[in-house]
Symmetry: C2
Subunit: 509 residues, 2 copies
């Protein structure tokens, strides 16, 4: 049997009709690569006598697997696979790269330009599909959504399909997952993958408000659910884990969150990205189980010089997963103009961080896109798709602030290669060539040559200046192009500059 | 024998002339309070056959002590003390209070308005004394200075008195401390205490530049020195520990710093404040041994909305211990105007953080005050003394940003009691009464009455508006005083507002 790298391989076994309770792993599939490397993958019950283990190999070559279980019918099965090159376009799971950035398992950089539809999974089929079509067309490459259904303001659809059977006491029995529910979740993740969208899966739910009672599970029940969820979804390359959106809305002690995060880290055989997102109280993102800081702070991206401080504090990728929404609701989190939201994405970009979009324009039925999805209607998504394409062109891990110590020149880039300077919502009439040259990363020399593009972040144009700028003076903290003419700019517009080094021509021999 | 609380008690013992090597604790003095509580204090060698243990009791009542040692002449000695009420004005060591602030052991709040003279300890006597006189007159209440001498730019005085004898191999022998050196250090700490100044002791030194070789000690030698230093100084109430200024200038692995910090935490019997200060790479201030985040980041206090993010990240007090200096040197860290520095202190204040001052006006001999001290000459110290007096009047742990999530109103205070709003370097012509009312801390009600003072941060005046503002509307995030006349302001000045609640009159029975 051959199987492409990064694709989901399913070991399907017939086991006991009376399922091995989901508070235990029903079987383990142990995959051994020809090199001797071993990966241990938890299986899960999939209804009736059907048991699965899902594995996505990341190495080509010969693998063997063996199943072990306390149930005799599941134990001792074996198989072999030859893993071949990945299907074109498949790059594997996204992980941390270059301290502050992301890349797929094969090294392909990934720059999240994410969207948010919390209750997407629980929408009727037409809206469910339209949501993904619209996000993909706009160019979003990550979606935050919840496994458990949402209740509360702006929620218009309440699902009947819920994740667990109820026990005789009326409580959820987390050892009896509703397979149809989780198959729907599988399909949702696969659908996103087919559209090039990472699934940022929100595991627990701070928005139950007592309606479904899924926020009332005990810590032990939460752990049973987490193990089952991870066993089902981990093999999908596009999964990211987020323990909760606005975790601190729930009245739970921090050590419970710590334990959940640590369980997630040891449970996931594919080592996906892991985060937790706050309301007003921050989690300690320095904890080892946290791969990147997922942050809400309304003001952090409203002006320059703020968000990058989180990079200094955490030394991990920083994703501002809630920077308020383009919308028209009265709540202060929900009425940014499109121009303001696009502006905040650009500030985030030159802060060396990433952000997520959300739309809170009130829909005819009283709901919001961030809650129930559907087609996007705002003016920001197209501009964020434009930003994403510019980020995708960057050759390197990602954009880092060049000289974060210093105010007044918010430039991010890859030293000596490419720089982005965002001029804010009101550009000056002209710009004189200058590059920051941080003490820690000096890579500039007199004679280096650069080309400059003027980027209109709203009208989505990239205009080359058409001149070459040659460094005439390289100081400790700045580099200048002598008396090169300033670049004339359309004053007052939301502009950015892209400054790229021109490779040295090969010296004739 | 009676002894006042918080004062330094010395157990003086005669021991072996051949000292117990300083890589071991020569004896322990075990102090037992009548309640049964025990504190174990390390002794140290003080020259010849003289051994000391210093202890500052924090509880009144009867104490007994017993000495134990591997040296027979130091072992078995005992004594009793009756600890009485503290001397008036003595409040004990400063520790963390209210998550983000500081208070003395007796509960008296402490708001650091600190100064910096790195090489103070190594100056000639006249300059050494003048430094303290000038700092105390200006109103500074904390001083950062190094134990080891500094070399490099702007250093004009190099001491002959060094902390360790040299061994036969020409290397320092850290087991043979130079007692005169450390007695001088004792006296320096005591002098600061007598002037109401906390001694922020920089234990290691990133500015040796190979001149003294004190940055070339091994990790084990560093630990011997740290234990000796702690044994000598810990009983002084005004000690703060800082592992290093700009630790990341030294090429050392992070785990070495971690280990030094953890050693400090377990070694210090009086549990003083502990921090580490960065150059461009941040330390993980979430580590348990760190009591407060001591941070350098040039841009963090240059604008609103930045420094407070470190509070969110660390949930500890944040002290910006290097926010650039008032001065006239060409380096970009050293030529703030006094107005800029005072402005940054006020931004720091409404960010719920603390800052340290430094002066880098070039002196006649080519040195700088931050290096060698002497009398202050700048225009900022007087204004910082004014700020400190305002902070000292605050009744509560300290000022917290009321609504850090939201941009546009940078107000810090104690909800429902007192608020400071800083208007920046260029106040508007008038201010309409408005208080933030954060979702997390609602303490405002319609009918609450407030008085407002207009503070001129440069001219050091506090002018009451002379009217009462009564809340007419309390919304989720803001509270307003109906149609109260706006407060007229001297437009363009660096102003702050202090808004204090007027206590309810007692209801007549």
């Amino acid at each position: 049997m051959t199987h492409p790298c990064y694709a989901v391989l399913e070991v399907v076994l017939a086991g006991p009709e009376e399922p091995v309770p989901a508070d235990r792993v029903p079987f383990w599939a142990v995959f051994e690569h020809e090199s001797g490397d071993v990966q241990r993958v938890p299986g899960f019950w999939d209804g009736g006598n059907r048991y699965l283990a899902r594995f996505a190999p990341e190495r080509e070559g010969h693998w063997t697997w063996t199943a072990s279980s306390e149930a005799a019918t599941l134990s001792g099965k074996t198989g072999t696979i030859t893993v071949t090159a990945p299907t074109p376009g498949e790059h594997g799971p996204v992980r941390v790269a270059g301290t502050f950035h992301f890349a797929h398992a094969d090294g392909t950089p990934f720059r999240p330009v994410g969207a948010t539809v919390y209750n997407w999974l629980h929408q009727p089929g037409e809206r469910f599909a339209a949501t993904v079509d619209s996000l993909a067309e706009a160019g979003f490459n990550k979606l935050r959504f919840m496994v458990f259904p949402q209740a509360g303001g702006y929620v218009e659809h309440f699902p009947e399909l819920l994740p667990f059977e109820c026990g005789p006491d009326g409580r959820y029995d987390v050892t009896r997952p509703v397979v149809d529910f989780f198959r729907k979740l599988d399909a949702a993740v696969v659908l996103l993958q087919s559209r090039g969208i990472q699934a940022d899966v929100l595991i627990y739910n701070a928005y139950d408000n007592g309606r479904f009672g899924l926020d009332g599970l005990t810590q032990a029940e939460d752990a049973v659910y987490l193990r089952y969820l991870v066993a089902r979804l981990s093999a999908y390359a596009n999964v990211w884990w987020s323990l909760c959106n606005e975790f601190d809305i729930l009245d739970r002690p921090t050590p419970r969150w710590d334990a959940a995060g640590e369980l997630l880290a040891v449970t996931d055989p594919h080592d996906h990205l892991r985060s937790i997102h706050n309301w007003v109280r921050f989690y300690d993102h320095n904890q080892p189980w946290v791969t990147h800081a997922s942050i809400q702070l309304g003001q952090a991206t409203e002006d320059f010089g703020r968000a990058s401080l989180f990079r200094d504090a955490y030394r991990k990728p920083v994703v501002l997963d809630e920077i308020k929404y383009e919308g028209d609701v009265p709540e202060r989190w929900g009425h940014l103009t499109a121009r303001e939201l696009v502006h905040q994405f650009w500030i985030t970009t030159v802060s060396g961080c990433y952000a997520s979009h959300g739309e809170s324009l009130v829909l005819d039925d009283g709901s919001l896109h961030i809650v129930e999805g559907g087609r996007l209607r705002g003016e920001s998504p197209e501009r964020l798709g434009f930003l994403r394409r510019l980020l995708d062109e960057v050759d390197g891990d990602g954009l880092d602030p060049i000289d974060n110590w210093w105010d007044g020149a918010f430039v991010a880039g890859i030293p000596g290669r490419v720089y982005f300077q965002y001029l804010g919502r009101s550009a000056p009439g002209s710009w004189t060539f200058r590059l920051p040259n941080a003490a820690m990363g000096t890579q500039l020399e007199v004679g280096d040559r650069f080309e400059v593009d003027v980027i209109d972040t709203w009208n989505m144009t990239v205009k080359p200046v058409g001149r070459t700028f040659e460094l005439a003076e390289v100081q400790r903290n700045d580099a200048f192009a002598g008396d090169a003419e300033p670049v004339q700019l359309p004053e007052g517009e939301a502009l950015a500059l892209r400054i790229r080094r021109i490779p040295q021509p090969a010296v004739a021999g």
